[in-house]
């Protein structure tokens, strides 16, 4: 199993029946494919839809039914459409159960930077700041390291997305939970040792006496 699939499968375990969920572009989008078949989760597309689904088949693309990346999507029975103020009212008003986003850096205090690299990448924050500030639960899904450098750091050096502490970090090596005392190592990826996680992390971790392995099915 590749690293991204592992992360997506682990994040999927956090979703519950009836949840309203927003998935970011890229890796987070993969989470939808790994839910149990009988689980009823509502996916919100922040451009104004609850009940998005994959395009049913080629040829059914409709220019007025797109996701936040502008790609053609489908809508499930029971879907509903609304304007951008309502969409972000759902996000900012505490109605969104979970947002899953990618990350550039997460620090020891649980703060996330994921929207710009000064001098290199200035795409704009889109909905990321609203999602992190407003969702009931914020899950960061990302690779533990990039180009040999840890993305888990003692203090974010990149501009913050929000000062709000995220709730869970799922990487290809571990599951980390931010707390008042710091980042708690909750789980390790299959075949990954605690020492390997520590070596790949640029800050202190709180290691409980029992750190189970992620329960991922093949």
């Amino acid at each position: 199993m590749d690293e991204k699939t592992l992360i997506a499968k682990r994040v999927a375990l956090e979703l519950k029946d009836g949840f309203l969920v927003n998935l970011g572009i890229g890796l987070p989008t993969m989470v939808a494919a790994h839910l149990p078949k009988d689980m009823n989760v509502f996916f919100q597309s922040e451009n104004g839809l609850i009940g998005m689904s994959a395009l049913p088949e080629q040829g059914f693309a409709l220019g007025d039914l797109t996701d936040a990346g502008g790609a053609f999507i489908g809508a499930l029975p029971g879907a509903c459409a609304f304007d951008s103020a309502t969409s972000f009212g759902l996000i900012r008003g505490g109605h969104l159960d979970v947002t899953v986003l990618g990350g550039l850096q997460v620090d020891q205090s649980g703060q996330l930077a994921n929207w710009m690299v000064p001098g290199k990448m200035v795409p704009g924050m889109g909905g990321a700041m609203d999602l992190v500030s407003g969702a009931k639960q914020v899950i960061v899904a990302m690779q533990h390291t990039a180009k040999g450098k840890s993305k888990i750091v003692s203090k974010c050096t990149l501009p913050l997305t929000s000062v709000r502490r995220v709730d869970l970090i799922v990487t290809d090596l571990a599951v980390l939970q931010p707390s008042d005392e710091g980042l708690i190592l909750k789980e390790t990826a299959p075949g990954v040792s605690i020492d390997q996680v520590k070596a790949a992390t640029d800050c202190e971790l709180i290691i409980p006496s029992n750190v189970p392995e992620m329960q991922i099915t093949a």
Partner: protein, 220 residues
């Protein structure tokens, strides 16, 4: 008096340097014929308030390609390298606004509010130079309302009076912008007799709409 205008007339009414709100999200729900005509008439020095600039040659991206935009208030330019190039080169001034805040700033402009208070952006680069207010122990940013000279709207249907409804995710910022501009121009896929759109289904009330763009003859 009929609100119906030709495409050419409606765009001719937009002066160079005007402040435009333009509906759409990555091109979905953008009034594409109005975009084409703005380029054809070469309306320069525009201030554009819009969620994004889509991609080069797509949606609002064609205004960027034609270098018509002097100032842009938007949430995301990551999909349009030409917008980023113009921003870095100093050709286009870009104000990046969190998407939810952008929606609420546009809404507050049209709803007569003095702005909005939001926790989004507190403690980030977004709060630079802005007032913060503490309410019940929570910190909020004061975000000011946005208004425009013209709102360019894409709709599913408009009736002869200018009652409007929208299609799926093409709705996005359109109904908010229709509240917040002096002159509202609606490009609808269909223009239908009064009564065809049931009152319960109307999203943008006719009193807000100034011009309707005649539909192209799609059967010819």
């Amino acid at each position: 008096m009929s609100k119906l205008r030709t495409l050419e007339e409606a765009v001719a009414a937009t002066p160079e340097g005007a402040v435009l709100m333009i509906g759409g999200f990555m091109g979905a729900g953008t009034p594409h014929r109005l975009m084409d005509e703005l380029v054809r008439q070469g309306k320069k020095g525009l201030t554009v308030i819009a969620n994004d600039t889509a991609r080069p040659n797509v949606g609002i991206g064609i205004l960027i390609d034609a270098k018509l935009v002097a100032k842009l208030v938007t949430s995301h330019i990551g999909t349009n390298p030409e917008t980023q190039r113009q921003m870095i080169a100093g050709e286009t001034q870009v104000e990046l606004v969190p998407q939810g805040t952008l929606a609420e700033r546009i809404r507050s402009g049209g709803f007569g509010l003095g702005g909005v208070l939001t926790p989004t952006g507190v403690g980030t680069t977004v709060d630079e130079g802005k007032q913060t207010i503490e309410i019940d122990g929570k910190t909020f940013l004061v975000e000011k309302p946005l208004k425009a000279d013209f709102a360019l709207i894409n709709a599913k249907r408009a009736d002869y009076y200018g009652n409007v409804d929208y299609a799926l995710t093409a709705r996005n910022f359109n109904p908010l912008m229709a509240m917040s501009a002096e002159t509202v121009v609606v490009e609808a896929a269909d223009i239908v007799p009064v009564g065809v759109i049931p009152p319960d289904v109307v999203v943008t009330p006719n009193v807000l709409v100034d011009y309707l763009i005649a539909t192209e003859n799609r059967h010819g």
